[in-house]
Symmetry: C2
Subunit: 120 residues, 2 copies
Amino acid sequence: MEKVSPDEAFASIDEQWSPHIAAELNGQAVKLATVEGEFVWHHHDDADELFMVLDGALTIELRDEPDVELEPGEFVVVPSGVEHRPVADEATRIMLFEPAGTTNTGNVTSDRTVEAERLE
Amino acid sequence: MEKVSPDEAFASIDEQWSPHIAAELNGQAVKLATVEGEFVWHHHDDADELFMVLDGALTIELRDEPDVELEPGEFVVVPSGVEHRPVADEATRIMLFEPAGTTNTGNVTSDRTVEAERLE
């Protein structure tokens, strides 16, 4: 049984907006990503998605309600079907919790679309 | 859509070893708990359980392999069926990810057994 130390894990994450699988449980995945700038608007048809900020700051922009501003330690669940766009004004480390197999850009395919790799 | 700020959430958590539901997604729950001392040995028949330390330090004792020592930010997944005992030498704040409805003492009923309440 191996613990995950995010500080060590992030040492092997270079690309922006590319979630890496740090752990899996109950059909869900814990993913780590470094992000900066604006992501793409998208939603997930069948997946609620939790965003937690580990370091930095993240804004979850939403179409029909006020943006959610996350500081380190804070998290929010974006329900399935809700269009959202994560934006980070600075280099930011985030943790995601969502069903294994969830694609980062949801219903949209763009140059940001990647398949999550498992961290070694 | 309401974010969760653990620092605020913990202000309303008094009891030790009593997980409170901070968010639910995809049939899973994110729970927060303050812990100190030794918990009871137990396992969960049908639930993998993630332990993450937010503040303090937690040891996950295991029967058949080395203990896992968690510092702030670190996490581990205890697979279903694996007997474990969380121990905290100091007051420690932890976050759990596990299926909604998981009982804190798993297969064991003791004076530590509680039903998780939802944070307001």
